[in-house]
């Protein structure tokens, strides 16, 4: 519960209508895209400017109120669930594209801008912003920066961190921090910009960002390769990279995923295939032609059953949009969909899929696999039922083993969704004890009172590594 003085101060700061404590507002901000997680905040606040955010943080730190910042709440790591109550700060009112600088090829935006709308805006100006999380139709740039979102183009173009040049952020005590700028080169001190990207709202509240834009590729070509054997598809991925071809997009969907996606999108995917690869290359026309030809050759070598090239952009877009629905579409199978984010070096994709399927079998759970195979980022997704506690327990055990397998193959516990609360117990597996200690030190330097998104990233207890069953 918030004390009355705090409530009064917060109301004065943003105005009556932009600070709500009614049950409707509290319930509607008690969850995000993560299944099986819910916690009520004590208030919901909608700031309109950096100054207001600063004022709010001064009030919050004087009363030690936790503050959880959020955009559209589409994240999948429980990153925006207010576990300790406090105030949820919704950034939707700060939704302006402040500037697109055609001379420096940069854009300045407020955090509440919807990513998809931003991408459309810059593309209309002939420019390109590559990070394209599957949730881009609804997710905000601020949320993408906080979680360091990836997407379908990560393999060739990198992820959000590669496109953030500068930030305005408000610290826990209300002071305003400015990092970077419209600069390609900048080594003045520690790279605080990169540090804040992916900090999941635990270090500061981002209120403005300068983003890098690049020229639009001249052409694009999209194809689908279909396989009766999923490992043939996985081997194709590794082989394309080994042949030093870097497609713009290289996605894998296994059979259960193909079925649910087609059930939703009705685009005629081959329901009898074990897996498909969706591959897109962009760039100069002759390079695109050559790469797509070579990729087709590799697909055939790895026993692709059928290969189809999209007739036009519309067909290609349909295919990519359908792929973006995969996670949600899997909910057609069972009521609860738990999606994970294990990532391995690209040469290990086939090994990781083999291991995942063996683990699913061992724990007798349904796991569908799809993901950005080209950058090694797989999304093994369990379709289960939260009401069946025994099964959920088995799912959790299976995932622990999947994370361990990923790390063993030289990978990580999350490639693009972040740690939040879901992966917190596993963070130490990846970064080690020393890594966690350094991170805790950084957290307390930024937020000594621990009021910014508490309980995220750092778990009270680390999970014990499971004993690996080899073979």
């Amino acid at each position: 519960m918030l004390i009355e003085t705090a409530v009064r101060q917060l109301r004065e700061s943003v105005g009556e209508q932009f600070f709500r404590t009614d049950q409707e507002a509290l319930i509607a901000h008690s969850y995000d895209g993560t299944p099986m997680l819910q916690a009520l905040p004590d208030g919901v606040i909608y700031p309109g400017s950096t100054e207001q955010v600063s004022e709010i943080m001064q009030i919050a730190s004087s009363h030690r109120i936790p503050v959880i910042t959020r955009g559209s709440g589409s994240n999948l790591c429980g990153g925006t669930v207010p576990l300790q109550g406090g105030i949820v700060m919704v950034m939707h009112r700060m939704n302006k594209i402040i500037e697109v600088d055609m001379e420096n090829l940069t854009a300045a935006v407020q955090p509440g801008v919807i990513t998809g709308q931003f991408i459309t805006h810059v593309e209309e100006l002939g420019l390109f912003y590559p990070p394209d999380p599957s949730s881009m139709k609804i997710s905000t740039i601020g949320g993408n920066i906080a979680e360091c979102s990836g997407g379908l183009r990560g393999l060739k173009y990198g992820t959000t961190k590669d496109y953030v040049l500068g930030l305005t952020a408000v610290l826990a005590d209300g002071s305003v921090l400015r990092t970077g700028g419209k600069l390609t080169k900048d080594v003045a001190g520690y790279d605080l910009t990169k540090l804040l990207v992916g900090s999941e709202g635990t270090l500061a509240i981002i209120t403005e960002a300068v983003l890098k834009l690049i020229p639009q590729p001249k052409t694009k070509k999209t194809m689908v390769a279909m396989y009766k054997d999923i490992y043939g598809a996985a081997r194709t991925v590794s082989k394309i990279i080994k042949n030093q071809i870097i497609p713009a997009t290289l996605e894998i969907l296994d059979n259960p995923t193909i079925r649910v996606v087609d059930d939703f999108a009705k685009i005629g995917l081959p329901l009898d295939m074990a897996a498909i690869l969706i591959i897109e290359q962009d760039g100069e026309p002759e390079v695109v032609e050559r790469d797509i030809e070579q990729i087709q050759l590799i697909c055939r070598e790895e026993q692709a059953d059928r290969i189809e090239v999209a007739a036009d952009r519309k067909e290609a877009e349909k295919l990519l949009t359908a792929r973006r629905s995969a996670f949600t579409a899997l909910a057609r199978l069972r009521p609860t969909t738990i999606l994970e984010d294990a990532t391995v070096p690209r040469s290990k994709i086939a090994d990781m899929i083999l291991r995942t399927n063996a683990i699913a079998k061992k724990y007798n759970v349904n796991i569908a696999t799809f993901g950005h195979a080209g950058d090694g980022n797989l999304h093994p997704t369990a379709t289960t039922d939260a009401r069946d506690h025994e099964e959920v327990h088995r799912v959790e055990a299976a995932f622990a083993e999947i994370f361990a397998a990923a790390i063993e193959l030289g990978g990580t516990i999350t490639g693009e969704h972040g740690v939040g609360v879901v992966k917190a117990p596993y963070l130490e597996w990846k970064v080690g004890e020393a890594g966690v200690e350094v991170m805790r030190g950084i957290k307390s330097a930024f937020d000594p009172l621990n009021i910014l998104n508490p309980d995220k990233m750092f778990a009270k207890e680390t999970k014990k590594r499971v004993v690996m069953q080899r073979g």
């Binding site: 049950q23 409707e24 008690s30 895209g33 939707h92 139709k137 999108a265 996670f327």
Partner: protein, 421 residues
Amino acid sequence: MRCGFCLPACPTFSETGVEPASPRGRIALMKAAVDGLMVPDQQFQDQMNLCLGCRACEPACPADVKYGQLIEQTKEAMEEHATHSLPVKAIRRMVFKHIFPKHGRLKLLGGALSLYQKSAVKKAVQSTGVMKLLPKQLSEIEAILPAASSKGVVERLGTFFPAKGEPLARVALFRGCIMDIIFADTNVNTVELLSAAGFEVYIPEGQVCCGALYAHSGEMGDARKLAAVNIDTFKQLNVDYIVSNAGGCGALLVEYDHLMQEDFKYRDSAKWFASRVIDVSTLVVEKGRIPNFAQPESSVQAGKIKVTYQDSCHLRNVMKGSDAPRILMKQIANAEFVEMSEADRCCGSAGIYNIVQPEMAGFILEHKMEHANKTQASYMLTSNPGCLLQMKAGIGKHPPDHPMRAMHIVDFLHERMAGSE
């Protein structure tokens, strides 16, 4: 599943930008009420009532969440515990219990309305300013209502109308209640269009209101009673298709199987009924012989006339019938179909939404007309009486800089069908 893919599809989320006014938010509120985490208080009810029921969130949902059923159940529960004020009770009682269920009384009302419209009374009423005493929305609607009639489609054409040429199938027209009084011409035109497309048309007299207004207001018991009468009536005819020319009615008719699933006596015949329901445009395009359409001679112009189309949400999102009207419009010689941006978004009419939620309906209509006016179209076509009235109101309130006329697509086609003969 809480991915949020539904948010951009939702008109009330677009207008407000707040989570509780989104499908994901409303479902969270419903779940909280069921879990006992929240009291379904006035604010809860207001939020549920703010939903247009356009169901645009459903095709946007990869997880196939049945939002329409959830909101319907919620409204039913709200209605069971509702304490309406006395005047509201009286109006609901009159409309729901005494007028809509009985076609004869509706016709009487139609006759009275027609008399009122034709007589000096209307002028007198309007000049005295009595209309100003009514809520603004009601008086606006009164002003745009087309001529009502006590003669519905059966009185004019009888209960059977033969096919032109070799019959392709036996169909039955669902005439609707509002449709048959203030849009009786559209019903007649629908029959003639179906006949021209090769269908034998039956118009069973015993049919009653589809029940949509009841279902959307949470009066499920009454909706089921009406459904039972309709199912019995149409079942006797043993037709191949049951044709609707109003998206709002069609969407409930096509879900009669869901509505009656608990009623084991009607379950099978409800399935029979629901599987035959089809929109007039879809039937003509998919199963009929598409007649030739051309501009009537009087309006032949040098250039092509531009036509645009406002989707009926229920036709698009529930009956999945958004392609056929577009295919038909493209068949007309001398006409150019121009798609308006966000044609798939609700116009704000939504049953009686524009009367009970005038503010939100007003915002939505304003955006709609911005897009409509940009098309430079001379005709704004629709497939549902509510949308048609709303578009007429929109053209009046936010007039484009060129002449524009709102019309039911069937009337538009019928006019051009005649022109081709």
